[in-house]
């Protein structure tokens, strides 16, 4: 039982982090809060990948004459690019939020839906 907890507790914490972000994404009305949740979700997934690259007794994946073992460099490479892409998605999301605020004067999801009224999906004049 103890071995199970020591071996696996890190995954459970990543799941907790990921679910905090997921909850913010689906249950919060505020659009900025949704973006914060998205950020937490992304970093939790990246953390999960990085922790899979950990090898007991390994050193950083840069050549060194005293190294016995190296960490697995592949997840590092994939997640390095994922971080930079995550800031790009955040930036696009923020740009959309700014446009939504300009058009509706609010960043609360339910208010925006209310303002759209009949929900025909027609874009209001002020957005164009």
């Amino acid at each position: 039982m103890i071995e199970l907890i020591i071996g696996k507790y890190n995954y459970w914490i990543y799941i907790a982090l990921m679910m905090i972000g997921f909850y913010a994404m689906i249950a919060k009305e505020n659009l900025i809060k949704k973006i914060i949740g998205m950020n937490i979700f992304q970093t939790a997934v990246i953390l999960f990948y990085i922790s899979m690259s950990k090898v007991r007794g390994g050193t950083a994946p840069i050549e060194w004459e005293h190294a016995v073992r190296y960490e697995n460099p592949l997840p590092h490479v994939l997640m390095l690019t994922a971080i930079v892409v995550s800031v790009s998605t955040t930036a696009v999301a923020l740009a959309l939020v700014i446009r939504i605020y300009k058009a509706f004067g609010s960043i609360e999801e339910d208010k925006i839906l209310e303002m759209k009224g009949d929900r025909t999906g027609k874009t209001p004049e002020s957005v164009l």
């Binding site: 020591i6 696996k8 890190n10 995954y11 459970w12 914490i13 799941i15 907790a16 679910m19 997921f22 909850y23 913010a24 689906i26 249950a27 009305e29 505020n30 900025i32 809060k33 914060i36 950020n39 937490i40 970093t43 953390l47 990085i50 922790s51 899979m52 690259s53 950990k54 090898v55 007991r56 994946p61 840069i62 050549e63 190296y70 960490e71 697995n72 460099p73 592949l74 997840p75 590092h76 490479v77 994939l78 390095l80 690019t81 971080i83 930079v84 892409v85 800031v87 790009s88 955040t90 930036a91 696009v92 740009a95 959309l96 939020v97 700014i98 605020y101 609010s106 339910d110 208010k111």
Partner: protein, 187 residues
């Protein structure tokens, strides 16, 4: 030993994430998100992912925070709170979203925890992820590319296509932001 100390920054992370999500003041939540990113960089340094930690410290804690603050300066700072009189159906609708969201989250978490039972232990050198192509990168990349940093060797040489794709994604994001926000002066 590492396995035991490792829990401390993880608990910090959970605390930061919870505060950032529950806080009403959006500026405060953004700053706490920056702290979250910085602790994340510390965790990745502990896991010896130095390149990733470097990127997270500059991108997550730096640029993302600045962008969020910039966006907040053009929108509103606080999260909307329904006035105290409005305890009718509106208040209820709020709680329905929250309760159903909570159930979805708990169900997903349960499914994922069930899935972790088949995962290799933390730091297991014989985990499947560490066996196949990763071993070849570590053994051969110095000889084949002459680059001592394996991460750079894989990023730029073996998986150059990936990196080209990611650079294109970043370029596209820049273009989208220009399209969405730039004011075009019509003469």
């Amino acid at each position: 030993m590492m396995e035991v100390i490792y829990i401390l920054p993880l608990l910090f992370l959970v605390a930061c994430a919870l505060t950032a999500v529950l806080m009403k003041d959006l500026l405060g939540a953004t700053i706490i998100l920056g702290a979250y990113s910085l602790i994340m960089a510390v965790v990745w340094t502990m896991l010896n992912a130095v390149d990733v930690a470097f990127t997270e410290a500059s991108v997550g804690a730096g640029i993302t925070t600045v962008l969020m603050v910039a966006a907040l300066s053009r929108t509103v700072r606080g999260e909307y709170e329904p006035p105290h009189e409005a305890r009718g159906w509106k208040r209820k609708r709020f709680s329905i979203t929250k309760v159903s969201g909570f159930f979805v989250v708990v169900l997903t978490a349960a499914a994922m925890i069930y899935g972790t039972m088949d995962m290799p232990d933390f730091g297991d050198p014989n985990a499947p992820a560490n066996l196949h192509v990763a071993r070849r990168y570590i053994e051969e990349s110095r000889h084949e590319t002459g680059v001592p940093n394996f991460v750079t060797a894989v990023l730029a040489s073996y998986r150059g296509y990936d990196t080209l794709g990611e650079t294109t994604v970043i370029f596209t994001a820049g273009m989208s932001v220009i399209l969405l926000l730039r004011r075009i002066r019509r003469e």
